[in-house]
């Protein structure tokens, strides 16, 4: 409401202060990015700036532009709108009507409602008080989500135009749009659409509205195509124009810096500033940009203004500082009068610039060497000179009154003037003067209250500065003798040494911060502060230059400012955070005069250097005092991964690289980092690099922490962290070890079992062998066999003596075979057969043609269990009738190369031969040890066959 009141109160044409310009940095050369016609820009919560141009979307960290490709590479399409919602999702609107959405740093993905995308350019997004998304288009009106559906607000619904330039949500979350036909408040009243229309007739500057800025006080600032700015009171439907003659220009953007400064970016006329408190317009534009046009402007969280333009692409400036080039004799002091008139004391005279003037003029012909200036509460300007005493100038007059020895001022070198009410304190090279003055005559009369000199002087008579603090203590900085203090009670204290005993020598400047702490700067550039009645050395040094003297002052927000040749540092007294404003803020080559600043209540602070005047207006916006830091890329073996979803790595994915970006748009060159991989690094590691690689990380849990600082102090730095784990390799995991142990045990058991089995088998084989040898011997030495053999032999000797010899030889061969093979597990089939033939010979001699053995073998390179065939033949002879009528014809033949078969016709004896049952079962068990193949018996009524497996000779 205050805004409105002010608007109504002041209806006078207010002057524009000329000349003071922002210091813009342009980023057109930043990186290799091919930027083209920027359309929109936002700073995201994560710190990155996103910019949409004709080629697509870019991410910017203050140094480099990174193209952001969408998931389906809709890249070379112009981005026309950007928005971040409260869930920190980035909404991207394209000129072709497409809408994409990005969560965190993930690639944007198409967001297409069932109802489809508009076919017109997206010109903005807003979220209303119920969290519903709205988007404006150029050509199709406004779209909004409600209960899962998309609704259009168009001409049919009463919207005056479907070409929408801007959409915002006001303080209460109501949706306002700017169009070719004024401003509309749109929304839902139950299930009905409502549209409230404001036009030029309601006080808007124009019907074409490019820019809307919701005000914290509830209304909305409206920027017109023509006609300037109005403040729209939505409830009452009244728009009030700003009380000034609009200097002209099409407004493209409105920004609010704190509650007091309205920044108005125009298409072709640069940037104007409207200050509520001072009710003045200040036009500010980039010097080499006057012909360029502004597309859009934006304000970040560090009090920087960003300007998008066709010519400079993207530029930024710190809104707290403006600069004016000076070409005066060495400026040494500056003061601001109540009418915004600026006074500069130089080594050759006093210069003045009225509030409506562009340049300084010498105030009087006197070439005074002016060191100090002071406006007293009555508006009298007190002028301290080097060697020529004190002068006074009454407001609105042009006569300088001189004060010197006749007024008790024995020393004419007045280095510093301060005062309170009707009293003045002068720091001179002849001690300290306390004076009181009266404005009775033309010439203010001065009366000396106190002169501290000689013995009374604060250590020395050379005094550099005097400062009155909030408790009315007066502080003096001396030449070589430290700091001196005079309490209101008249008590005199001198601080000639620091807490640790180091002497304090010359002190150039003294100031008190918003927390009541006294600060001092020394001749060596050190900064001291008072703590527990002693001065201690601060842990920062504003400038590394040896001769760098530092001027100290406090701003209206209670910050301590340190002015030095590198620029200005701002110290937040509560957190003791220091923010540097150096080259990047426009202080390159700044040579400030000592204590050459003005602090007028309610006005900007002015300071002068050799070639420039600097104006500092601290923003009332809450600004971020620390850089942000974002881990923006994690790579495994240099291959970037989607790390947001990946927390667990395999044992071999142990080469990790972390890339992080510090965000400090104020001055990216000041950024330093420190990082620590918890679980690996024992301490923090300081670095200037933005990437760190860890190779061969052992398995474990880790947290990568990184912080950025712009002043090398990390105590309050913001951190980003990334937790992850590297798995144990397979062979170290518990389950694997358990399985492996179980496996080993299993195998061992198996081997043991096998071995046991083998041993058993060997044992039984041995037993069988012994048994069979015994049986074979027994059967062969069977008296019956011998008896038969001898009978046969006897008859042979009688009948065919020649046969008898060979018979005996065969018998001998047969027994030799038995002796020879009985020890072996296997013999060649050939050997068995030769033995069989011997045996058959013996039988043939006995039975004559009634016994036939027929051997039909194709191949004989097999092995066989010894005596097996012989035993079978013997069995056949034993159990069957052999007679002329029933000759026994035994066949031995092979089948399929697998089996050897002994076949005989079945002609069983009537009287059964006593059988030991040993023969076949012995063969069977011996084979069972050697092979899996079975022995089969084919017992038919007329035929008996028995098959033995043929074994490979290698088994011999």
């Amino acid at each position: 409401m205050r805004v409105v009141q002010l608007v109504i109160l002041s209806f006078v044409g207010l002057p524009i202060l000329y000349g003071q310009t922002l210091f813009f940095r342009t980023y057109e050369e930043a990186g290799s990015a091919n930027l083209d016609l920027p359309n929109c820009l936002i700073e995201r919560t994560n710190g990155f700036i996103y910019m949409g141009d004709e080629n697509g979307l870019w991410q910017f960290d203050g140094r480099q532009f990174q193209p952001i490709s969408t998931t389906d590479s809709l890249q070379d399409v112009a981005v026309s709108a950007l928005f971040e919602d409260s869930q920190q999702q980035l909404w991207i609107g394209y000129r072709n009507g497409a809408i994409y959405r990005s969560d965190g740093l993930l690639p944007p993905q198409a967001w297409e409602p069932e109802e489809g995308w508009p076919a017109a350019a997206i010109t903005g997004f807003a979220v209303d008080f119920e969290g519903r998304l709205w988007w404006a288009t150029y050509g199709e009106g406004v779209y909004g989500l409600k209960d899962g559906h998309v609704y259009q607000f168009g001409i049919d619904d009463g919207l005056p135009s479907e070409d929408i330039y801007t959409i915002v949500a006001d303080q209460q979350g109501r949706i306002l749009i700017g169009s070719d036909n004024g401003v509309c408040l749109i929304g839902w009243s139950g299930d009905d659409k409502f549209i409230r229309h404001f036009t030029k007739n309601d006080g808007l500057p124009d019907d074409i509205i490019y820019s809307l800025l919701p005000s914290p006080s509830g209304g909305c600032w409206v920027g017109g195509y023509e006609g300037g700015v109005s403040y729209l009171d939505i409830e009452h439907g009244i728009a009030s124009p700003l009380p000034l003659e609009w200097p002209g220009g099409t407004i493209v953007d409105l920004l609010l810096c704190g509650s007091d400064d309205l920044w108005v970016a125009t298409e072709t006329e640069g940037i104007y500033r409207w200050n509520n408190q001072r009710q003045t317009w200040k036009k500010s534009s980039h010097e080499d940009w006057q012909s360029g046009s502004i597309h859009a402007a934006y304000q970040d969280s560090e009090a920087n203004i960003w300007v998008l333009s066709r010519e400079q692409i993207i530029s930024s400036a710190n809104t707290q500082f403006t600069f004016l080039p000076l070409s005066l004799p060495t400026p040494q002091s500056v003061a601001l009068d109540d009418d915004d008139g600026l006074w500069i004391g130089t080594e050759a005279g006093l210069y003045f610039r009225g509030p409506d003037r562009q340049s300084f003029e010498q105030f009087s012909a006197a070439k005074l060497n002016i060191i100090s200036l002071y406006f007293d509460p009555n508006g009298v300007l007190w002028i301290g000179t080097f060697g020529e005493g004190l002068f006074a100038l009454r407001p609105g007059t042009d006569e300088l009154f001189h004060y010197g020895e006749q007024d008790g001022l024995n020393n004419g070198n007045i280095l510093s003037i301060t005062g309170k009410d009707d009293q003045l304190w002068l720091a001179t090279l002849g001690g300290v003067y306390q004076l009181s003055y009266h404005l009775t005559n033309d010439r203010p009369s001065l009366r000396q209250l106190r002169h501290l000199e000689g013995e009374d002087a604060p250590g020395t008579e050379f005094i550099y500065c005097a400062y009155i603090d909030s408790q009315n203590r007066v502080w003096f900085g001396t030449d070589g003798e430290g700091i001196s203090m005079l309490s209101p009670a008249g008590e005199h204290l001198t601080y000639s040494a620091r807490k640790n005993g180091t002497p304090i020598r010359s002190v150039y400047s003294i100031a008190e911060d918003g927390h009541g702490r006294i600060w001092a700067s020394t001749e060596s550039g050190d900064i001291l502060y008072l703590e527990n009645e002693q001065f201690a050395l601060a842990n920062f040094r504003p400038s590394n230059r040896k001769d760098a003297f530092v001027s100290l002052l406090n701003d209206e927000q209670g910050n301590l400012l340190l002015i030095h040749p590198n620029g200005i540092d701002r110290l937040d007294p509560e957190h003791l955070t220091i923010v540097h404003h150096h080259d990047a803020a426009g202080f390159n080559g700044f040579e400030p005069g000592l204590n050459a600043f003005s602090t007028t209540a309610g006005a900007a602070i002015h300071m002068v250097g050799l070639d420039r005047l600097v104006q500092y207006s601290p923003t009332t916006n809450t600004i971020r005092q620390h850089p942000k830091v974002v881990i923006d890329r994690v790579s495994v073996f240099l291959e970037p991964i989607v790390f947001q979803n990946t927390m667990h790595f395999g044992a071999k994915e142990n080469n990790l690289a972390f890339h992080y970006s510090g965000i400090w748009y104020t001055d990216p060159s000041l950024l330093t980092y420190r990082y620590q991989l918890e679980g690996f690094d024992r301490t923090w590691i300081n670095t200037g690099d933005q990437q760190v690689v860890y190779s061969n990380l052992p398995p474990g849990e880790y947290t990568f922490r990184v912080a950025a600082s712009a002043n090398e102090d990390f105590s309050q730095a913001i951190e980003d962290t990334y937790h992850f784990s590297i798995a144990l390799p397979l062979w170290q995991r518990t389950w694997f070890i358990l399985i492996a142990i179980a496996g080993f045990l299993g195998i061992a058991i198996l081997i043991l079992r096998q071995r046991e089995k083998r041993l058993k088998r060997e044992a039984s084989l041995k037993k069988e062998k012994v048994q069979s040898q015994y049986e074979a011997l027994k059967s062969q030495i069977n008296p019956h066999f011998l008896f038969n053999s001898f009978n046969t032999l006897a008859s042979l000797i009688e009948e065919k003596p020649s046969h008898a010899v060979s018979y005996i030889e065969k018998l001998a061969d047969f027994y030799r075979g038995i002796l020879q093979y009985r020890e072996r597990d296997l013999i060649a089939l050939e050997e068995e057969l030769s033995m069989i033939q011997d045996y058959a010979y013996l039988l043939q001699e006995r039975y004559g043609d009634n016994f036939q053995l027929q051997i039909d073998l194709e191949r004989r390179d097999y092995a066989i269990v010894p005596f097996s065939l012989q035993m079978l033949v013997e069995n056949a002879v034993k159990h069957n009738v052999i007679s002329r009528r029933q000759p026994l014809n035994i066949r031995i033949y092979t089948q399929d190369d697998l089996t050897i078969i002994v076949e005989n016709p079945k002609q069983l004896k009537m009287t059964k031969e006593r059988s030991t049952g040993f023969g076949i079962s012995s063969i069977r068990s011996r084979y069972a040890i050697l092979t899996d193949q079975p022995i089969w018996i084919d017992d038919q009524p007329n035929l008996f066959r028995i098959g033995l497996p043929l074994l490979k000779p290698k088994q011999l």
Partner: protein, 186 residues
């Protein structure tokens, strides 16, 4: 009531439109819906979708009689659909009428993606919708294909708790209709 007005509009639309314009008309379009609930999939369709599109103004109107939907899983289901849920006695038709947002010439052959903005009336409850459709125009024939969802809650269609698991809260509707160019006074 609203439904009735819409129906009347459709009937009268040709006559209220000025002059001897020709309109795209459809007499037997196919409209099908699918309810994909955890326990049951219900599909039904009607081949009696009527529609008219004015190629001059982009205005359009569609209507379908609720009781022409067939293909339910059981006759009982169809009966419930008509009597309990859609109440086709009271609200015999579903309609959709409005205007096409895009400026396209629907007399010229071609493929168009358009968005139809209009009021969807089902169960007597009107709801403004934007429905994205594919329109193909060729040789005196215009084909419209669209698919969209209808949340039951939007149209006050109440489902008894006991059959909750059998009927989806959002019904998928698919439209496939062929139009012919006819004089408006025919």
């Amino acid at each position: 009531m609203l439904a009735r007005i819409a129906v009347i509009c459709i009937m009268l639309l040709p006559s209220v439109l000025p002059g001897q314009e020709t309109l795209w008309r459809c007499e037997g379009g196919v409209i099908a819906f699918t309810s994909d609930a955890p326990l049951e999939l219900i599909e039904a369709a009607s081949g009696e979708l009527q529609g008219v599109i004015n190629p001059e103004t982009g205005q359009f109107a569609f209507a379908v009689a609720i009781n022409t939907f067939v293909g339910f899983n059981s006759p009982l289901q169809q009966e419930h659909f008509n009597e309990n849920y859609l109440e086709s006695d009271r609200f015999p038709r579903a309609t959709f009428s409005g205007r096409i947002i895009e400026e396209v010439n629907l007399r010229e052959a071609g493929n168009y993606t358009i968005r139809a903005k209009g009021d969807l009336v089902i169960h007597g409850v009107e709801h403004e919708r934007i429905i994205k459709s594919q329109v193909t125009v060729e040789e005196g024939n215009l084909r419209v294909q669209a698919s969209f969802t209808v949340p039951l809650a939007d149209h006050d269609i109440r489902i008894p708790r006991i059959v909750y698991q059998k009927i989806a809260e959002e019904i998928l509707v698919e439209v496939n209709a062929s139009f012919r160019l006819m004089p408006s006074n025919s």
